[in-house]
Subunit: 365 residues, 2 copies
């Protein structure tokens, strides 16, 4: 039998041990100054010896002042991908309400820079206590980062990383690594030489660092493992807006490459490829894609999509708000970069990844 814990130490205990009042300990703890060197040292010594750890509940209770967090996120009507982060944000807002967190969402059109600017301006005018933003427009974002920096408003980025003006934290997906992972999955499923297609759907690669990183990671998997000779990797950019730009290129690729064994879809639109294959009664190529959105799940269940890589977009939104809360309410240090797990999801383990209404007790791991 072993006991895992030592007793709880309160500020009062520290004060007693150091021979000072709780007020003095408090001043030391928060570097508020106005403490004589002598007592400061005494308190520090007591703190070291007793391993003081603040009671987060009491702390949260007393500083129950309201913190307003502004979330600047793309409109899910334009690209349904953004539904997930938004759900995460909403969940976090609900869970963290009791800590005095209020979340205000500013929704911009991801296809319209001006919409981003307008919303960012509106947000800035309201002077929130913290900002969560998906800075998909690089240059436009920088200007606001500078403003927020000057206004001393902490901001957290998610989905897209921009290192300048050091944000409080970046919550992200590791696109390169996910490309590597997709490569592994496809390689594992294919032993004979064959053709593999990388399909970028509905997004302009040149404008998307993500897609580039995914493609690079994917290609590098085969390169690093000296598989270039066996696998003929081709890539294509498709656009659903225009049937000709979607169906036709696919038709041609299928015709030109009878040995096409797998298709790696770099966006959340794997279901479009699955649908296409089904309609054309093409059985052989396996499909790997991203994100647990309903149409993808449908084809995963059917077996038409083999794997989905879950980048935990929901969790990105959740963690963004969570990190800001840690900073604003509990004044804790937060990780500068937080990559969320890359889950490999199949028909057989899907049920662990949907729903996930996990509770939040702050302070928890």
């Amino acid at each position: 039998m072993k006991i895992t814990n030592d007793p709880v130490v309160r500020i009062k205990d520290i004060a007693l041990k150091a021979g000072v009042s709780v007020g003095t300990v408090d001043r030391v703890l928060h570097n508020r100054g106005n403490v004589s060197v002598k007592k400061h040292d005494k308190v520090m010594k007591a703190l070291q010896e007793m391993h003081y750890e603040p009671n987060l509940m009491a702390r949260a209770l007393v500083s129950s002042k309201k913190h307003i967090i502004a979330a600047l996120v793309p409109d899910a009507h334009v690209d349904s991908y953004w539904l997930e982060p938004q759900q995460g944000i909403a969940k976090a807002a609900k869970d963290l309400k009791q800590y005095g967190i209020r979340v205000t969402e500013y929704i911009f059109d991801p296809s319209d820079k001006q919409s981003f600017i307008d919303n960012a301006n509106a947000l800035t005018k309201n002077k929130p206590d913290g900002i969560l933003v998906s800075p998909i427009f690089y240059h436009e974002s920088l200007a606001f980062f500078e403003k927020w920096k000057k206004m001393n408003i902490p901001f957290v980025l998610f989905n897209t990383q921009i290192a300048e003006y050091d944000p409080l934290s970046y919550i992200g997906q590791d696109s390169y690594q996910s490309g590597l992972l997709a490569g592994k999955l496809i390689h594992y499923g294919q032993h004979k030489p064959c053709t593999v297609l990388i399909a970028h759907i509905d997004e302009d690669i040149s404008n998307s660092a993500h897609l580039q990183k995914k493609e690079k990671g994917f290609r590098n998997y085969f390169f690093q493992n000296n598989l270039d000779g066996q696998f003929n990797i081709i890539s294509v950019q498709l656009n659903r807006a225009n049937t000709a730009a979607f169906i036709k290129p696919l038709d041609e690729i299928i015709e030109d490459h009878p040995d096409l064994a797998s298709i790696f879809v770099t966006t959340c639109k794997a279901y479009e490829v699955a649908k296409y294959l089904e309609q054309r009664h093409i059985e052989h190529p396996s499909v790997i894609g991203y994100d647990l959105i309903p149409p993808n799940l449908y084809f995963l269940e059917k077996g038409r999509i083999s794997f989905l890589i879950n980048q935990n977009a929901r969790a990105q939104g959740y963690w963004g708000i969570y990190q800001l809360t840690e900073h604003l309410v509990f004044k804790r240090k937060v990780e500068e970069i937080k990559y969320l797990p890359l889950d490999i999801v199949t028909k057989e383990n899907i049920n662990y990844f949907i729903d996930k209404d996990k509770p939040a007790v702050l302070g928890l791991p």
Copy 2:
């Protein structure tokens, strides 16, 4: 711009609205009785209308009485598998200390029923406020469940499920599902007819419901997908204690089945098979196993093990303590069964799964 939250409602607000004192509201909230029907109704009405949700911080703060949780877990020296749950328990103990939780561990020898009984007796004598137990001995466990039930001590099971005497919660691995998943992974990697080996290492199948469920799930994958014809599935029980009982059967199987394509190891001992294959310079069979323990990670990194299925044993320990805390401290309803995710781990995404000082993200998606 949309605001995600409504204002926080306190007991005081309810009392004001209902025209009573906070004491009365408190009595209604906790069914303490001694409230006139008239006022009771008024309070109920106010509660309904204002969507009261208790402030968990304040609640935990006021009832900051110590809760002692006893954890009855197998000795990791006998089977290193138990290291993971123990780490999870230790982490939870640390995180939840501030909520007044003290964890006492009782370590028993998993190969010795009497050791289980002795420790369980010692534990019971100390009358903890909650119990976390891995009831690997069925009959011996039942007797204690009955005692604890009578003593009104909530207990949570992990790792092994026993439904009688309804525990507060069961935290578990879904062994059947993980077998299915392993089947899928092997099938995905093998297109030609071949032989597949199920290896149970260092455990007696007949005594382990887990291993049986894993094998059943695995076989059913192939059965349900009408793949019986193509895949010749054989199984073997190996024991490292005796070299003859380990090396020899493997040698024979390899010789008898030149088309052996994959080996599914149902325990955490996949590294033993990987080591064997390496020493014999046998390249072709892919290996799939369980658990992220160092020797397995070594062979995963080398490529000798293709996939590891992570049953999140660490998280099992963590959640066990967590669920008891939810019940004891926050008085929240806890899920009766909590299956932890089955993660598919490869060389390419391993870094998200090790370390995990994961909050279990508590609360997270």
